[in-house]
């Protein structure tokens, strides 16, 4: 039996609400010790990425987010049977626990900012020209002209990056006041100045939102995209050691997990 995995939650209890996932199958929790893997059964592999299926996946994760701390997993994560799922959970148990504690009561928000790259570059070129030539024009052999062109481009690119850094710093200082963690993506394209995700405590989400509105009103020449709240897709961190535990560590962890399973009666589910 194939199991479609939505996420790992901080509870070994069965889900009380009726939640339906992909293929309309009921969603349930497979416990391990004090955590659980939320799954639904799936009869055939999902072919391709469809908008409907992605939204169904996301809706289940968001529904779970209302009552649990969840480590969302990537769309189309399918595990071959309960034994394999439990084995995976045993290997990653410590990582899952650490992440669940770290991400408890926290939500993810996305902020993207577009700036007018052409205009920014135009202004840089004007300013550089005003500042004067930094390479001599005389004795222009082919090689020297080549270096001169490359150097001009290098100076423009350098100033472009520096300007982007300055803009991002100003915005980030403001957002970071209300965020626990962040990941900043700079200039993924020339126009996409900032592609950031912030991890925000649930009770600070309104402050974070206000900070965004403030920045938006302060820098009107830019274009903004605000999204969230999302499950913390970008903040689940699995350590490199996961799944590669030494035999002794594996045995130790397995003992602990077995004890937990007995305590919560997971074997009988």
């Amino acid at each position: 039996m194939k199991l479609y995995l939505y996420g790992i939650i901080n509870s070994s209890d069965q889900i009380k609400e009726s939640i339906y996932g992909l293929e309309g199958s009921g969603v349930y929790n497979i416990p391990l010790c004090d955590i659980g893997a939320v799954v639904s059964e799936i009869s055939q592999p999902i072919r391709g990425v469809t908008k409907g299926a992605v939204l169904e996946h996301e809706a289940v994760v968001e529904k779970l987010m209302e009552n649990f701390t969840i480590l969302p997993v990537r769309f189309q994560t399918i595990i071959d049977g309960r034994d394999n799922l439990l084995s995976m959970m045993q290997s990653y148990y410590k990582d899952f626990k650490d992440n669940l504690e770290r991400l408890h009561n926290k939500l993810e928000f996305g902020i993207k900012v577009i700036w007018p790259a052409d205009k920014v570059k135009e202004n840089i070129i004007k300013a550089l020209k005003k500042g004067g030539q930094r390479m001599p024009e005389s004795d222009s052999s082919v090689s020297k002209r080549f270096i001169k062109e490359k150097f001009e481009k290098y100076e423009i690119d350098k100033e472009f990056e520096a300007k982007a850094d300055r803009f991002i710093k100003v915005m980030d200082i403001f957002f970071s006041k209300f965020a626990a963690e962040k990941k900043l993506g700079k200039l993924k394209t020339e126009n996409l100045l900032l592609d950031a995700v912030y991890l925000v405590e649930k009770d600070r989400q309104n402050d974070f939102r206000e900070a965004f509105e403030h920045i938006k009103n302060a820098h009107t020449g830019l274009k903004y995209l605000f999204s969230g709240p999302w499950p913390p897709y970008n903040f689940v961190v699995l350590s490199k050691k996961s799944g590669l535990l030494r035999d002794s560590e594996q045995a130790d962890l397995f003992d602990k997990v077995t004890q937990c399973q007995t305590l919560v009666g997971a074997d009988s589910i």
Partner: protein, 113 residues
């Protein structure tokens, strides 16, 4: 059941375009299957050569900026960089590769170049 996270923007088309663009330039893996293994391998090798070429070029620009190159040295560096660039263009043409294809996604580390 409907997802409830919101997406707010005054310029949806522009963001879609930029996001698509940012994904286009970041191939997640080298496409090396039996039919085009030669091209896949060439792409990997040329990506690494291009990275080294760009590093050399950047280093040269830093030295020009610092004023630590004599006129003769600028001449020689220029000649070397022209030859390197021409050779790369030749190789790209042979294997039918474009500039934007010579990049690699290094997962959490971001793109190679």
């Amino acid at each position: 059941m409907i997802a409830s996270g919101i997406v707010e923007t005054d310029s949806p088309e522009e963001f879609i375009e930029e996001i698509e663009k940012s994904q286009d330039v970041l191939p997640r893996k080298i496409d090396a299957n039996p039919k085009n293994v030669e091209k896949g391998l060439a792409k990997l090798v040329l990506t690494l050569i291009e990275l080294i070429r760009k590093l050399l070029e950047k280093q040269a620009m830093r030295r020009v900026e610092a004023g630590s190159l004599s006129e003769d040295e600028i001449e020689r560096v220029g000649e070397t960089l022209i030859k390197l660039e021409n050779k790369m263009n030749e190789l790209k043409q042979i294997f039918g590769l474009k500039d934007e294809e010579l990049n690699l996604n290094l997962g959490p580390l971001g793109e190679l170049m």
